[in-house]
């Protein structure tokens, strides 16, 4: 069906280390004594907590309501009792805290009532809402909500299911494809319908022949739906943009979305989760996690969302010389600083690291501009140029040389003969630019506020001056109109005339006062026209003072 494959520039071929963990079938991880389910399960959105401590919840029960368009609901991963709401470390390089619901399982693993959802019987929007309510997010990378990625049902011609799994060590998608190919393809069929695609392609790196075979066999059950494509094994072929390029030839620039180019990409795990949600009524409460590295029993486990990493590790029996743990692959993963961090919907792999398996980097040497990094860069960047600019903190120039097109895949640092941690430099420059942009925005806002304040004061001053001038004119007119009879009645008494004028002014001011409340000087009403006009003419004061 697919005519040809396309190539992307660069890439690397690290040792895959996949065989050990890919051999045993997926096993269910035992219930942990406690589940810590973060309310933040998708990008840029934290769900609103719906439960209170002491409350009993069932497996799949909603415990957090997604907020905003990017929000997705969060569910209890097993039945049990909510014992608290506590901040927990996020599975993120920053280890920042996020609010989590802590559940003590009751051991029954009792589901809520599950009912299949007929997405064909309802409007498309309702089906998307249902997926959001089932907490379906991208399980391959950033956890972007699936209902957003499905777009508006128009203009997306090609649906891509990502089974490339290009990072070394990770095998969860491999096992998933070998064991649950039919579920993945059933999910792909649903995504295909919802997205309104014309063709669906599954990209799998050719170092996973069993997965390719299983998927091809399962594809026979979905005639005409998908094309299972074996793609050359080259990191980072599983990067969304690289996979789209390999399968379709389309290049999606930084900041652009696949939908703009008529193509959209979902991970195989996401497709399977969509199948479970639609056909079994199960929200996303578990995922397959690879436990591998410096361990005695590498393998893949079906793990409940919220299971702390530390309780999982015993399953794999880490060897004694393990010195730290990585979450994700060795190319883009993070070091886990706190082992109580829970498994989230995007946690695909835990690697036990030892100095022997992942030796500390040799000392950094000067860049010799050999260009190995540029030859390895899948984004066609010149990493060494970005490095020079970053080193000089010339981040503007780095930005000009497309720093933000860097996907931080680590290929450049992998090949660098000078062992320069290039990606760290780029992360530094990016954060520096973000900080500067924030500062710039803040100072822009401050300047705008200040300028508006000046403008407003000026305007009020003018308004007040105009008002007072009008009032003065009115008073004068009134006085000259009433002066004659008063004069006639009281004779030539200037004192009385003054008193009368003052009274008239006072009356005037009482009447005017409410209209003055929007001025900053509303609290000091009663200024006579004379005083007011003097107050409004600081120049006169100045000239008085100097004379």
């Amino acid at each position: 069906m697919i005519a040809r494959l396309f190539n992307f520039h660069g890439g690397i071929k690290p040792d895959s280390h996949k065989n050990a963990s890919a051999a045993p079938p997926i096993a269910a991880a035992p219930l942990p004594p406690r589940l810590t389910i973060p309310l933040r399960q998708s990008v840029r959105s934290v769900a609103r907590c719906l439960v209170a401590p002491g409350q009993r919840v069932l497996k799949g029960e909603r415990i957090g309501a997604g907020e905003g368009p990017l929000g997705t609901d969060v569910h209890a991963s097993t039945s049990g009792t909510v014992v608290g709401l506590a901040p927990c470390a996020m599975a993120h390089a920053s280890s920042l805290d996020t609010l989590a619901v802590v559940i003590e399982p009751d051991g029954k693993d009792e589901w809520i009532e599950r009912r299949a959802f007929d997405h064909r019987a309802v409007p498309r929007e309702a089906a998307l809402r249902y997926l959001s309510a089932c907490g379906i997010v991208g399980m391959g990378g950033a956890g972007f909500p699936t209902h957003i990625k499905l777009g508006n049902g128009r203009g997306i011609e090609t649906l891509i299911i990502n089974g490339a799994e290009c990072e070394p060590w990770i095998t969860c998608d491999d096992r998933l494809m070998r064991e649950r190919a039919a579920e993945i393809l059933s999910g792909a069929a649903i995504l295909h319908e919802l997205i309104g695609a014309r063709r669906t392609l599954v990209g799998i790196e050719d170092n996973k022949p069993e997965a390719i075979r299983a998927m091809r066999e399962a594809a026979a059950g979905f005639p005409g739906l998908v094309d299972i494509v074996a793609i050359p094994t080259r990191y980072p072929a599983g990067g969304e943009k690289q996979l789209i390029r390999v399968l379709t030839g389309i290049e999606i620039a930084h900041g652009k979305l696949g939908t703009e180019f008529g193509v959209q990409c979902f991970n195989v795990g996401t497709a399977q989760a969509v199948h479970r949600a639609i056909h079994h009524g199960e929200p996303l409460v578990s995922r397959v996690v690879t436990l591998t590295g410096n361990v005695r029993r590498p393998g893949n486990y079906e793990v409940l969302v919220g299971t702390p990493v530390e309780t999982l590790l015993a399953l794999a029996a880490p060897k004694p010389d393990t010195d730290r743990y990585l979450m994700g692959g060795p190319m883009m993963g993070i070091t886990i600083s706190d082992l109580s961090v829970p498994i989230g919907k995007t946690s695909n792999c835990i690697i036990a690291a030892s100095a022997a398996l992942f030796p500390p980097p040799p000392p950094e040497l000067p860049c010799i501009r050999c260009g190995a990094c540029a030859r390895a860069c899948p984004a066609d960047l010149q990493p060494f140029e970005l490095y020079w600019f970053s080193r000089a903190k010339n981040v503007g120039k780095a930005q000009e040389y497309h720093l933000f097109d860097c996907i931080e895949c680590g290929s450049c640092a992998f090949v660098c003969p000078s062992h320069i941690p290039l990606v760290d430099y780029f992360r530094f420059s990016k954060s520096e630019i973000w900080a500067r942009e924030r500062e710039l925005k803040a100072s822009d806002q401050a300047r705008e506020r200040f300028e508006f304040r000046n403008y407003r004061q000026e305007r009020e001053k003018e308004e007040k001056a105009a008002k007072l001038a009008a009032k003065a004119a009115e008073t004068r007119a009134k006085l000259s109109g009433s002066a004659t009879p008063t004069d006639a009645a009281t004779g030539d008494d200037p004192k009385k005339a003054l008193i009368a004028a003052a009274l008239a002014r006072a009356r005037q001011q009482v009447a005017v006062e409410p209209r003055n409340t929007d001025t900053p000087h509303a609290g000091v009403p009663g200024a006579s026209p004379g005083i007011a006009s003097r107050r409004e003419q600081p120049d006169l004061h100045d000239s008085d003072a100097t004379s």
Binding site: M331, R369, G410, P417
Partner: protein
């Protein structure tokens, strides 16, 4: 804290430099066999000088010495200086050349990776300007015994004209310019010439070519620079030769003579001082070839590669800036 990636290819600056030194061995072997075995002594002198100079200047700069010495970059520089100098120079000229390359060109600009100019080429230019006669004494291939060579290098009496001949490029230039002879008659006159270039010396060109192919296979260098250099030199000399075969030497002569092959694979390919983008590399190497040819044929020096390289080094920032490759997603390549 250490960040991703946690794995690295087992590559190092040292392994790159070692590969370059290995790649020079066929050329050095041809040198020893065909021209002057004393080049080995020169390589030794230069290597020691380079390492001592590097250690001293690093001490002055208060930088760690061990990693810089073990990266072998100074040794590569030293060997290139020797290979572009005449082999029967007094030892102190070699020492001076290496000092210029290491101290002035490399470390005064900030050390490894920072020098805008090719160290060996600056050393060559400085020496040919300072000691034009010494730097023009090229021995005819295989006519001086090793003892004499050693005496010349280590400071024996010099009887210049008796032992040195003209290089192929020099003989061709002199023949064409002063005697007004045709290319063919010059080639027949003198015993200086071999099959295509200088007698004996052409074997060196072959050795450097072999080493260059080894580096290409090991991906130490990319094809851009050697191909652009060789192709441009061939095309430019070919045009002149076709226009007037009697006055201009054929392309093969230019490729096999002087430092053409050494330059194509080891000099223009210096990553530090050369252009870095794929298109930039083509422009850089082509520029060197054009300027080198013009100096050889119309200039005041028989060999112009060193000056050509330095002139093109000057253009590198501009070339790199103007030849940045299109970035993924920014070339509008919808199929």
């Amino acid at each position: 804290m250490i960040h991703s990636p946690y794995i690295r290819k087992p590559a190092s600056v040292q392994s790159v430099m070692l590969a370059v030194l290995l790649a020079l061995l066929p050329g050095v072997t041809a040198y020893v066999m065909q021209v002057a075995a004393v080049v080995v002594v020169n390589l030794l002198i230069a290597t020691v000088t380079a390492l001592v100079a590097e250690a001293l200047i690093l001490t002055l700069r208060k930088r760690p010495i061990a990693p810089a010495l073990s990266d072998l970059s100074a040794v590569v520089t030293a060997w290139l200086v020797v290979l572009c100098f005449p082999p029967i120079l007094p030892w102190w000229v070699t020492v001076l050349g290496v000092l210029i390359a290491i101290v002035a060109v490399k470390h005064l600009y900030g050390g490894l990776g920072q020098n805008p100019f090719n160290p060996a080429m600056v050393a060559y230019c400085a020496m040919i300007v300072a000691f034009p006669s010494l730097m023009s004494q090229w021995p005819p291939a295989g006519q001086i015994d090793f003892q004499t060579q050693l005496d010349l290098v280590l400071g024996g009496a010099r009887q210049l004209d008796a032992i040195t001949g003209a290089t192929a490029l020099d003989a061709m230039r002199t023949g064409l310019r002063t005697s007004g002879a045709s290319v063919d008659s010059v080639l027949q006159q003198s015993g200086t010439f071999g099959a295509v270039g200088g007698r004996g010396w052409e074997w060196l060109a072959l050795g450097y070519l072999a080493g260059g192919l080894f580096m290409l296979a090991r991906r130490i260098i990319t094809w851009h620079m050697p191909v652009a250099f060789i192709a441009t030199l061939a095309v430019v000399s070919g045009i002149f030769w076709l226009a007037e075969p009697a006055r201009f030497a054929p392309p093969l002569f230019h490729l096999a003579s002087g430092g053409a092959m050494l330059a194509a694979f080891f000099i223009v390919t210096d990553p530090v001082s050369g252009a870095t983008t794929p298109r930039g590399k083509l422009i850089f190497a082509a520029g060197v070839a054009v300027i080198a040819y013009l100096i050889r044929v119309f200039g005041a020096f028989p060999e112009g590669i060193a000056f050509a390289v330095l002139l093109m080094n000057l253009c590198v920032p501009l070339i790199d800036m103007k030849t940045q490759p299109a970035v993924f997603g920014h070339r509008g390549s919808r199929p």
